[in-house]
């Protein structure tokens, strides 16, 4: 699993990746009440806003940690947004992306680096 400074995570299998928001982000947002998931087939550039996670007091864009095409979206979040709070780094995944450029992963942090980064916030 890799992480971004914007608190997204990426979990890679072959040339596909699940993406979501980190536990830290989920806790900062508070109770999530709505998730706008991306449409399947949408082509993303690294850094594009591709989803919105809303709590009662804030709405946050989620940015693509890597470039690629959305091949699956976690539609169950629409009916059960609380999944993001319960298991943000597993069942709370937002989209599955087919990687366009695997080398982009090199620029992301591993868990140890991410935790060190969190300690600086």
């Amino acid at each position: 699993m890799k992480f971004t400074k914007d608190h997204e995570w990426v979990s890679i299998t072959g040339n596909e990746a699940f993406v979501g928001i980190t536990l830290y982000a989920a806790e900062a947002l508070g109770d999530v009440v709505f998730v706008e998931v991306p449409e399947v087939g949408k082509v993303l550039k690294k850094g594009d806003s591709f989803a919105v996670v809303e709590s009662v007091k804030a709405a946050s864009d989620v940015y693509a940690p890597v470039s690629g095409e959305v091949i699956e979206a976690n539609d169950s979040l629409t009916g059960a947004p609380e999944t993001i709070n319960a298991v943000p780094e597993a069942g709370g995944w937002i989209a599955k992306i087919k990687l366009a450029d695997a080398s982009e992963l090199d620029g992301l942090m591993d868990r140890e680096q991410y935790e060190a980064y969190l300690a600086t916030l």
Binding site: T4, D6, H7, E8, I21, T22, A25, A28, L29, G30, D31, V33, F34, V53, E54, S55, V56, K57, A58, A59, S60, D61, V62, Y63, P81, E82
Partner: protein
Amino acid sequence: MTQDSPKMNSVGRPSAPEINVEATLFKSLLGGKGLLQSEKLIFEKDDYSRTGVDFADIAIDASDLEGLLRSDLSLPGLTEPEAMRHYVRLSQKNHAIDLALYPLGSCTMKHNPRLNEKMARVAGLGDIHPLQPVSTVQGALALMDTLSHWLKVLTGMPAVAITPKAGAHGELCGLLAIKAAHEAKGQGHRRTVLVPTSAHGTNPATAAFVGYTVEEVAQTADGRVDVADLASKLGPDVAAIMVTNPNTCGLFERDIVEIARLTHEAGAYFYCDGANFNAIVGRVRPGDLGVDAMHINLHKTFSTPHGGGGPGAGPVVLSEALAPFAPKPWVVSHDSGFDLVEHDEGVSAQNFGRMCAFHGQMGMFIRALTYMLSHGSDGLRQVAEDAVLNANYIKASLQDLMSVPFPEGPCMHEALFNDHWLEGTDVTTLDFAKAMIDEGFHPMTMYFPLVVHGAMLIEPTETESKDELDGFIAVLRALAQAAKAGDVARFKGAPYLAPAKRLDETRAARAPRLSYT
């Protein structure tokens, strides 16, 4: 992932209540709360057929409307006594300015004179139709013209567009005039609007709404626009800056004249958010500061009632450069009287369009003009002075207990505190504000401006007596001492004595239920 409002989250505003503490051990037999009656929804009645209006039930032959008649009308009716009970019971669950000081910063909750209400209901003012022939509404046009004159003189600006229906609508009007003016000069390529980080949410929302890219301008350590940062961001792409003055930290922008000069030098216009005009009315004219457009919330500075969330009114004063682009309609005067310009002809050809169906919020114009005539130029100047005096008195009376983010110099009409002083108490700004309810006051504005951690923004207005201020100060001092003494339960479960306990906002948003079914 980034958050639009990180401050709101980092201070941990709970969205669902956690603690359920009994306010009292006494229980009434059937759950009553003394004379505060519980009240069902009007829809929770078995019989919808009653009515409180006596009209005859006539028969009509509507065969020409065959296929167009409705069969599904289901709306509950109440007789007059039922209606009176229902709404009076509901009213008692509300707090109001008429009950106590209402310290919402940036909202200017001042007393609403009842003469204003009386005049808005006079036959010939409250009951006239917007499309009557202008020969039959010369007094209405004269009234709008008089209101415009007062607004122009008070702001030192040459023109005013009076149709915008609220502050945010006024911002829209101002930015559309700016956009039209740029286009007329061949400067339509300017795409950026600069907005300080402390701005009202409506500023960036309005700018983005009309297609501008919003760029934030930094704030200095003393709570003002960072002029160097502004200067570095001004350029050939910038259409306008939007600055609130006095700003949302309750401070006058000392460099305002320089800000205006730099803006104009870069070919951009200066939009001033006039939400805080109450602090300077009669003492400072925005026209003397270099402003090109400014909306005036008649429901703030000029005392038209807030009504539980509107209606407002947001006329916009304009500089010579922007005046030709003001929206339709407007009033003109001839030797023979007044007329309304409602079509795109001749002199009006440059107008940017129309903000709403008719001529703006006449009901609010009547109230605001009544207020202006009552105060006069001297009274309005006194309004600003007393508003500023009251805010500084509160600041001076609390700053030994509560931390002030910008302690240097006086504030204007509102006193801003942060939550630094609550560190280690386990009491948040939200908890503190909710506890104020139990002591009889409405909370202050919280977590705004976003640039101040755990912000508490207190605007007393000029219509508070010293006694009321002293009572309010005594409450805040007592609460501050309680928080510091570790009396956490008093805050976490607050309010205990309100008509309702803390409400579960998460539940409301996850499965929205917006109407009775």
